[in-house]
Symmetry: none
Subunit: 241 residues, 2 copies
DNA sequence: CGCCCTGGGTTGTCTATACAGGCTTAGGGC
DNA sequence: GCCCTAAGCCTGTATAGACAACCCAGGGCG
């Protein structure tokens, strides 16, 4: 959707800020350049700087206070509503054997949609993997994953039969935040075959986007056979029935 | 945060669109006025109309296609974290009408399985309700719930058309902790009919067990149409890929 | 009949300018 | 020393004008 000048200037401003946060030269709580400063140093109009900062504030990366300034948000470790584990650990915890099959592993260029979800330029290189996880020989999860090589370099060189993507990413890209979306759906044939499902069998899809050091580190679609998989989440929040 | 002109004009444009969607004069897939049309009819600048439409697109309310136009998105409802909220609030937050139908409401004796999940003796009395929640007339959730009358007395006497189970329980039984289990499944006929689903359509089931003052207060099975419901959860925990 | 090209409408973006209202601070008056 | 005010920065919003890229339809041409 965003492809006009190949790379929009407000995106560049966002990257300017995000890069500084990732590099550590901007830390949580510190003040980021004001719109007027960005106008001067990056030679953009104030409206462009405003859009960049406003969107980063909506994403929770920055906090803006009218009349005062813009600051890097504190990335609090808050009660986790949805606790998601490594599927390999889950399987082993049940005393079963975990096996992993690599279906595809390559570098791809970010499509328009992916670039947007990653907050990267279209065409930027992404590491791609398509794996199937087996529990005692039966497929339990198809994991389709894109990884930002800037956030987690060396992903494609990992030996996935020894280190799962989860383990690799946890080690290489310290986790900051995660978004999850869960849906029930009838899978397309490609996924259905990998999960060895009958036609008409539903599947549980967990879409996960993880952030590391202010950047999107990885986007994963996790497909599970609906008949054999449950997602558990425990929480002690404030208001629910 | 937004308190400048008390009510910003781009917000008015957003409401202009949202009201028309809520009223039914703009339906899913239909085209909404272009930026230039809004500029003329609402006497705002194109940038203001652009911001309104862009934000509605980010929220998933609209879909924009460069060079073609802006259209009302197919409603893919999108729920909140597992800090789960009241489905009625969710629906109203989208500017839609929430309605609730009571299918069953009675006192039952705990089966062996239920007694186990409640940590009660088999045969102990439980309050039971089966409700359907509607969003603008379309069923969005079937809520099948058992309540421990010791933890939340008076459940059966509640007027559910005024106070949803969520609201009642939050008030009567202060929440301590919640467990969730999520799965995808093909619903049994009873649920399928209440959700008005075609045969073969998957459904997203959220099973919830809530604790109050050290007791299990309530066990709820929440069924949603897989094609129209998403569950979203954001978290910043320590370990996940 | 089919192909290409062009024109008009639409979104996507950028700029320069302007005003309102919140917050901080320096400076003056007491 | 204390209080109050005004200046100056900050964000939030609005506007008019401009250009680029995209899509579709319709007309002209082979």
């Amino acid at each position: 959707m965003t492809l006009q000048p190949a790379t929009a200037r407000y995106q560049k401003v966002k990257h300017f800020i995000l890069d500084r946060i990732a590099a550590g030269s901007l830390r949580a709580g510190e003040r980021v350049p004001s719109e007027n400063e960005l106008t001067r140093t990056l030679t953009v109009s104030r409206m462009t700087a405003n859009r960049a900062l406003r969107e980063l504030a909506e994403d929770g990366v920055l906090v803006r206070v009218a009349g005062v300034g813009t600051f890097v948000a504190e990335q609090r470790v808050h009660a986790h509503p949805l606790e998601v584990r490594n599927i390999a650990d889950e399987i082993r915890a049940r005393g079963h054997e975990h096996r992993l099959k690599v279906v595809a592993l390559e570098s791809v260029a970010a499509s328009r949609e992916l670039a947007e979800r990653f907050v990267l330029r279209p065409g930027a290189p992404l590491d791609y993997s398509l794996l199937t996880h087996f529990e005692d020989g039966a497929p339990l999860q198809v994991e389709e994953r894109y990884v930002n090589p800037l956030a987690a370099p060396g992903y494609l060189r990992n030996d996935f039969t020894r280190t799962t993507p989860h383990e690799f990413l946890v080690r290489v890209a310290p986790l900051q935040r995660a978004e999850h979306t869960v849906r029930a759906l009838l899978p397309e044939r490609r996924i259905r075959r990998l999960l060895r499902l009958e036609a008409g069998e539903p599947c549980l899809l967990i879409m996960r986007r993880t952030f590391s050091q202010g950047r999107v580190a990885s986007i994963a679609d996790l497909y599970h056979p609906g008949s054999r998989y449950e997602l558990a989440a425990n929480c002690q929040p404030r208001s629910l029935p």
